[in-house]
Amino acid sequence: MLKMVVCIKQVPMVSELPWDPKTGTLKRDLAEGMINPACRAALDAAVRIRESEGGEIVAMTMGPPMAEEVLREAIALGADRGVLLCDRRLAGADTLATSYTLARAIEKVCPDFDLILCGFATSDSETAQVGPQLAGALGIPGVAYVDEIELTGRTVRMQRLADNFLETLEMDLPGLITVTTGVHAPRHVPLGGLQDAFTGAEIETLDAKALDVDPERIGVKGSATRILNVYSPTSDKKNIVLTGTPKRIVERLFERFDDRIGGTIGKDLKSDKKKS
């Protein structure tokens, strides 16, 4: 039986962000969580594969207790099992520590996996690194940024747009694929399934001890990178306000910002050639 693991992440819901307009920062603790769009595309790809090939889908996430929600959503969307990796010691992990932890968890929960599917990137940190690093940590082949997947027996054929090339690639299972959001429109969650997932489904929760991980390689401790500071890049704008008739504003714009505008487009805009 084909065994698939889909790694998903809960991210802040962009349209519902509790935004602090003064500082331009996000109040993350108040943010509403949702399943990362590319992770959802990965889950959808797994469901499609199961439709033709059969098999089992394990949805896995690492996060705080509240991340359980996305696993229930994943079950409603078609996952057979939901596995939550939840432990304070896992918190603050960079992609190196995250991929290590996920790899050990997959080996524990689903040691005979055939295919790992991930979203190509998350909408909050956007590194696109966990998928490729997870393939490395599991010692399996992997392909990132995949738009189309076709499984025949033990061989998976993939198509992707990489830089300027349309590539068709093949690998034998077991393997890892990160998928883009480009191809399949996400399906709607069947309401009945959603209800069942939230009332009936069992979520398996594992902590660092149960995962049997090296404590030096998880969470903040296992992370090679450190964040020095975080700031809002838009806060230093001068925000000059121009009012008046459009014609007058255009003239002032060219007078004051010729260096900027004219310099960028390679034209001198200070003088009105028809006037002079």
């Binding site: 331009g24 940024y145 964040i227 704008k237 306000v241 008739t245 255009v250």
Partner: protein, 347 residues
């Protein structure tokens, strides 16, 4: 032994899209600046298979030659590590990552910089994972701080934010960098450099991912993502007909047109122009924003713009607050006035 060795900053030579994207040369230029601050040498690392005329003969010392090796040196490399072999003809993730891992373990560079191309964005994490070191994705700034650490500035969507990240202990410090972030230094054919040929290892395993087919896709000269000027329009333009004026404006400015989601949904323009969470990220020198209120899905996709001119009847719109210049006017009328003004000034 390594105490005597000069520190090094490496740049991975991503020459697959050389004619569209000169990120390797841009990184060599930045590496030169950084190298001055930590007394390091700049090295280009080239894996591939080039026909002879594309690989400079290390012994010929022919200064007029302009292959990938010469190009790297002329743009700032002190040294080039070169593995040239038919097996490297196609960019291959596993093989390239293995070669990079072995070379880095042997030479121990301080820093490795990789262009944030699709290949680079997959290659870099694989190398970092093998070397058990830190990696920052898609940097828009690189500096050396007083402790001699590489400070990597990277945007994070989780709220229009920019993070500064370091790798304090692990080495090398690794970063991928967006094409177009740094200017290249002019080609200087009088520069000299050392070429170190690295043979292909004899025990190189078969790549487990097979490239079945690869077709180069035709592309427009400038893409929205790379455009120096972007003219973005929203619902405030009023109608499909008025929105069309933005294309004329963009042409006058040598730029590209972008759009918000409501406009794309209303079919005023096609999906290719969507700037937002579900569309393209832009980072132009100048962004003109016409009649856009500034939903976070949109603003987060254009916060890399260097200079923003927003036009809106409503001075309190979010986009107006985020702008360098906020023009309080009807977007469509101002667009017309701007087109006329430009036509008068540009012959």
């Amino acid at each position: 032994m390594s105490a005597q060795k000069k520190r090094a900053i490496w740049v991975f030579g991503d020459y697959r899209n050389y004619f569209q994207n000169r990120v390797t040369l841009q990184l060599l230029a930045r590496a030169r600046d950084l190298a001055g601050k930590i007394d390091a040498e700049v090295c280009a690392v080239l894996f591939g298979y080039w026909s002879e005329e594309w690989v400079d003969d290390a012994l010929s010392q022919n200064p007029t030659f302009c292959g990938v090796v010469g190009e790297s040196i002329a743009h700032g490399a002190d040294k080039v590590y070169l593995t040239d072999h038919p097996r490297l003809a196609a960019y291959s993730m596993e093989t390239y990552a293995l070669l990079m891992e072995r070379l880095a373990k042997r030479e121990k560079p301080e820093i490795i910089l990789i262009g944030a191309t699709t290949f680079g964005r997959e290659f870099a994490p694989r190398v970092a994972q093998r070397l058990k070191t830190g990696l920052t994705a898609d940097c828009i700034g690189l500096e050396i701080n007083e402790e001699g650490l590489l400070v990597q500035t990277a945007p994070s969507f989780g709220g229009n934010l920019v993070a500064q990240i370091v790798t304090p202990e692990c080495r090398p410090q690794m970063a991928t960098v967006r094409p177009g972030t740094f200017p290249e230094i002019p080609h200087d054919s009088s520069r000299r450099g050392e070429v170190v040929r690295v043979p292909l290892p004899k025990d190189l395993p078969e790549d487990r991912v097979r490239l079945v087919r690869s077709e180069r896709r035709p592309q427009r000269v400038t893409k929205l993502e790379d455009a120096r000027v972007v003219v973005c329009g929203g619902r405030g333009m009023g109608s499909k007909k008025k929105f069309a004026k933005l294309f004329e404006l963009a042409e006058l400015l040598g730029g590209e047109v972008g759009a918000t989601r409501p406009v794309v949904y209303a079919d005023w323009t096609d999906h290719e122009t969507l700037v937002g969470q579900a569309g393209k990220q832009v980072r132009p020198q100048i962004l003109f924003s016409f009649g856009i209120s500034g939903a976070i899905q949109h603003t987060a996709a254009c916060n890399g713009a260097k200079f923003v001119i927003a036009v809106n009847k409503n001075p309190n719109a979010t986009m107006m607050k985020l702008a360098d210049v906020a023009v309080v006017a009807d977007a469509s009328q101002f667009c017309t006035a701007l087109i006329q003004g430009l036509k008068r000034r540009i012959r």
